[in-house]
């Protein structure tokens, strides 16, 4: 990293917005995933112009750039795989405009997901995409990963709620795509940039749709003594055409860890639970809740509870949303997968995951968006044992391969990042990569933005940029 770059960045942003000491940089080599890579510099822009100037400097010095929100990503997306300068958007966290009439909010990328809802809930509105990390993750990170959440089932993922973006291209050019209305002539560029994992442009402003709160909501907790029963229930709820707002599944074992944290009254002796929420007009909610309950009972639910009030409902959701973290109580480390399968294949997929777990000698937790078929098998392991880590990775690959065999995909919401990029050929052909690479190169020709992500290193896109980062830290921390 050239010293003059540091000097220029310091004078551009002020020293309080630039980190360069190793003791600071080591705190940006991790995110929520198991991956690691250290940046050479970390900078904190406050405005779009800052971002543009930083990118111009990066171009001048030919250093790679990676964006970062809160670093809760689960695919290593926000890690500086090629070293270089990391742009942390956390200080660009102003809500720029609330247009309640048109149900739109214009925000900077560092705004925390839940803070959008907090700012508009007084008007009966909310921001629908609700990743379980929503109290920490940023909207910029959500846009980059096209984040989903439990309520994605009914309301769609981030892309369905973004109408316009302000972007800065790698050369520093500031561009806008989409419009407040969301309907613009021409290609759906918003649709392309959302979910591009920070590999095409950096996002500096986002216009999001706000959703009106439903008139009525019912949250059901169905308790099962067999995982098969729970997965059959989900398959049948889907097949019957009942569209809950959310339909989440947690296995009994994980549930105990959650219960330790939350004390929500989750049973400690179940095989699995489903958390199903129905929303809408009172009449619709009544009917749907009854239908869901009926399906649960048909599939031998031991008990179906309905949350009595908002507090009970909040508690159930708090349990679900903290599920990943709660697994930290069970093992020092875990590896979260994100495969997707057709919902009709849910029962067989869960069986297969269990047998893969057995084969490698792991306990595999399952906390996932069942209604979407978005699995999150979680392999628990002890990183102090390198063999366990190897096995965890091997088991994970086998599970992902199986998802693809069933007609599914590698990742439903966490993104490919630097974690699943080598698995991409399971789904995509050389022609597919060739086109994706052309699109990539159209915006990020030198792979200066977030190199080493999405594409397998062998399929072009900046492999040269990704220097082998010396593992300076033991894997166990």
């Amino acid at each position: 990293m050239p010293a003059s770059l540091l000097r220029e960045l310091n004078s551009l942003l002020g020293p309080s917005n630039v980190l360069h000491k190793i003791e600071d940089l080591v705190l940006y080599e991790y995110d929520g995933s198991v991956e690691k890579a250290r940046p050479d510099l970390v900078v904190f822009p406050h405005t779009t112009e800052d971002v543009s100037r930083i990118l111009k400097l990066a171009t001048k010095y030919n250093v790679p750039i990676v964006g970062r929100g809160s670093g809760t990503g689960l695919s290593g997306g926000a890690l500086a795989r090629g070293g270089g300068t990391m742009i942390v958007f956390a200080r660009m966290n102003r809500i720029l405009e609330l247009d309640l009439e048109n149900a739109r909010a214009v925000v900077q990328p560092g705004v925390v997901n839940l803070d959008i809802t907090r700012a508009v809930e007084h008007a009966g509105l909310y921001f629908a995409p609700d990743p379980s990390s929503q109290k920490s993750c940023t909207i910029g990170g959500n846009v980059a990963e096209n984040a989903g959440g439990p309520h994605t089932l009914a309301y769609g993922v981030t892309v369905n709620h973004v109408t316009a973006l302000e972007l800065v291209l790698p050369d520093g050019e500031i561009v806008r795509v989409g419009s407040k209305h969301g309907d613009t002539p021409g290609y759906d560029l918003c649709g392309l940039f959302v979910g591009s994992e920070g590999t095409l442009a950096l996002v500096t402003e986002i216009t999001v749709k706000l959703t009106r709160k439903a008139e009525a909501v019912k949250t059901l907790l169905a308790i099962f003594d067999a995982v098969d029963d729970a997965s059959n229930t989900v398959a049948e709820i889907t097949a019957r055409g009942i569209t809950p707002a959310a339909c989440e599944m947690v296995d009994g074992w994980t549930l105990c860890a959650i219960e330790d944290y939350i004390h929500a009254g989750f049973p400690r002796d179940s095989a699995a639970i489903l958390l199903v929420e129905v929303e809408g007009l009172r009449e619709a909610v009544e009917a749907q809740a009854a239908a869901v309950e009926d399906v649960c009972r048909t599939h031998h639910a031991r008990e179906v509870r309905i949350a009595r009030d908002d507090r009970e409902r909040d508690l159930l959701w708090k349990g679900r949303k903290n599920a990943f973290g709660a697994l930290g109580r069970l093992a020092p480390s875990n590896y979260v997968l994100d495969g997707v399968i057709p919902r009709s294949k849910l029962p067989q997929a869960l069986q297969q995951i269990q047998s893969i777990g057995k084969k490698y000698g792991f306990s595999i937790g399952n906390i996932f968006h069942a209604g979407d078929g978005n699995l999150h098998p979680i392999v628990l392991y002890d990183p102090r044992d390198p063999q366990q880590f190897e096995n965890a990775i091997a088991a994970s690959r086998e599970i992902i391969r199986y998802c693809v065999e069933l007609g599914g995909a590698l990742t439903g919401e966490h993104g490919v990042g630097m974690e699943k990029n080598e698995l991409m050929p399971l789904l995509f052909s050389d022609a597919d990569f060739d086109l994706m690479r052309r699109v990539h190169d159209a915006f990020n020709p030198d792979s200066s933005l977030n190199p080493g992500k999405i594409f397998p290193l062998s399929k072009g896109c900046g492999e040269i940029r990704v220097r082998k980062q010396a593992e300076t830290l033991p894997a166990h921390v």
Binding site: G191, V340, P342, G373
Partner: protein, 460 residues
């Protein structure tokens, strides 16, 4: 034009004679704004479509893909038009998993046929677009034409989950997949929506499907002026009632709709008052929800001092809804020449609408206004012939509509215009700042510019 007399012969040598047509009368059926292709090719598979693309690359030909050709008048005429690629030969269901509510279907599948097949399993695809009797699924998607179910089910962006297509290098590519949630790789399939065939030849589309509602109904409420109708609409939006569709018709639009309606039901047509502004709301759900919404709407209409309001039973709702779904189709033939604008406004406030009507008044043009759901306005100007003064009036009006829409932070395009107007007015409106990025996208998909050159925004 590169197409020469032996173009068809050379094509035949690649694909076989039965796939190629070069007879005059048929060629004319594929004309776009008077431009006639050099040959028609009817591939029967994605591989054949890819071969045509590769042929076009070597021969430097321009291809315009089409389905049922019901909306070839969208966009600008192509700059070059050598091959008409008729995709209706690709019409299989590749995959349908009713238990997963996912579907993979070939590009040329007619929507009507698809709907029937899905309905057998109690499902449907919420693409309620005009010309639905003939439209193909890929044609509907690539045209970007509005679905009248948009309010409830969104645009294809919300339910297209993957696609297979031939890119401009003649390679078979795909993006997305067959599962309802997926962030693996770039969402290139989203770019195909509304791309008017300029990026790729769509060969197959994957969708999530939806369950057919148990019941549906509608309401028509009339108001003596635009303000009343707008206030009613606002009240409905604020109430949070879930509606499948919500449209406001200006008196002229009511008259035109009644005229179409009269062909099938004079009695129903008689109930629409062409002196009034009408708000049509359509809603669906279970047996309890539909009457509940009807009740609430009647109450809101009363509070909004509607001059009259009527609940439509399922049959009448389907009838009127169907006619409005087809509005684009019949409006464009409603007079000898028509300019049909599609205007997206952040907020369809009465002021903007009144300004549009003023444009018509100022140029003494008959105009119909249809305020659709989700802030989309269809504004139609009718002239009695394509003579110079009429074209001049339309040209001036278009300039004003484009600038009005821009001032309201929206934008306008011309969905339909007389061919002669298209040589004076770019139907896409003024270029936007993101044109450069669009060109990047076009170039990466279609580096040799073989797909529908010149049809799209900014000359793409």
């Amino acid at each position: 034009m590169t197409a020469t007399a032996n173009l068809a012969t050379r094509l035949e040598s690649v694909l076989g004679a039965h796939r190629v047509v070069a007879a005059e009368p048929e060629l004319r059926e594929y004309a776009i704004d008077g431009m006639v292709p050099g040959a028609i090719v009817r591939p029967a598979s994605a591989q054949e479509a890819a071969e045509v693309a590769r042929f076009a690359i070597t021969e430097k030909l321009a291809i315009v893909a089409s389905g049922s050709r019901s909306k070839l008048d969208l966009g600008m005429p192509p700059a070059r038009y050598d091959l008409a690629l008729d995709m209706t030969g690709l019409h299989e269901i590749a995959h349908f998993d009713p238990g997963d509510l996912t579907l993979s279907v070939d590009a040329g599948m007619p929507l009507r046929q698809l709907a029937r097949m899905l309905a057998e399993k109690g499902q449907f695809l919420p693409l309620a677009v005009p010309c639905c009797e003939t439209s193909t699924v890929a044609g509907a998607l690539a045209s970007g034409i509005d679905s009248t179910l948009r309010k409830q089910y969104g645009t294809p962006r919300d339910f297209l989950i993957g696609a297979e297509f031939v890119d401009g290098k003649g390679a078979l590519c795909k993006s997305g997949g067959r599962v309802v949630k997926n962030v693996t790789g770039y969402d290139l399939h989203k770019l195909l929506i509304g791309s008017l065939g300029t990026l790729a030849l769509i060969t197959r589309l994957n969708f999530r499907t939806f369950t057919l509602p148990q019941a549906h109904g509608g309401q028509v409420a009339c108001f003596s002026n635009l303000e009343g109708a707008s206030a009613y609409r606002d009240a409905i939006e604020k109430s949070g009632l879930p509606l499948a569709n919500l449209e406001t018709l200006s008196p002229e639009m009511v008259a035109q709709t009644a005229a179409v309606l009269r062909e099938t039901s004079a009695e129903f047509a008689g109930r629409l008052d062409p002196a009034k502004w009408c708000v049509y709301a359509s809603f669906e759900g279970n047996e309890a929800v539909v009457p509940r919404i009807a009740r609430d709407l009647q109450k809101l209409a009363n509070e909004a001092a509607a001059a009259g309001s009527e609940i439509l039973d399922a049959a009448s709702d389907a009838h009127l809804g169907g006619i409005l779904r087809e509005a684009f189709d019949w409006l464009r033939w409603a007079s000898p020449a028509v300019a049909l604008f599609r205007i997206a406004l952040p907020q369809s406030n009465p002021g903007d609408l009144a300004n549009l009507l003023r444009v018509a008044q100022d140029s003494s043009l008959r105009a119909a206004l249809l305020v659709r759901a989700a802030g989309i306005v269809h504004f139609t100007l009718f002239v009695e012939s394509e003579n110079e003064s009429a074209l001049h009036a339309l040209e001036n009006a278009a300039a004003r509509v484009f600038s009005l829409a821009g001032a309201g932070h929206g934008h306008a395009t011309l969905l339909h215009a007389p061919s002669k107007l298209k040589s004076r007015v770019n139907v896409w409106g003024p270029n936007r700042a993101d044109l450069g990025m669009m060109r990047h996208v076009k170039h990466s998909f279609d580096p040799r510019n073989i797909f529908a050159p010149g049809r799209f925004v900014g000359g793409i």
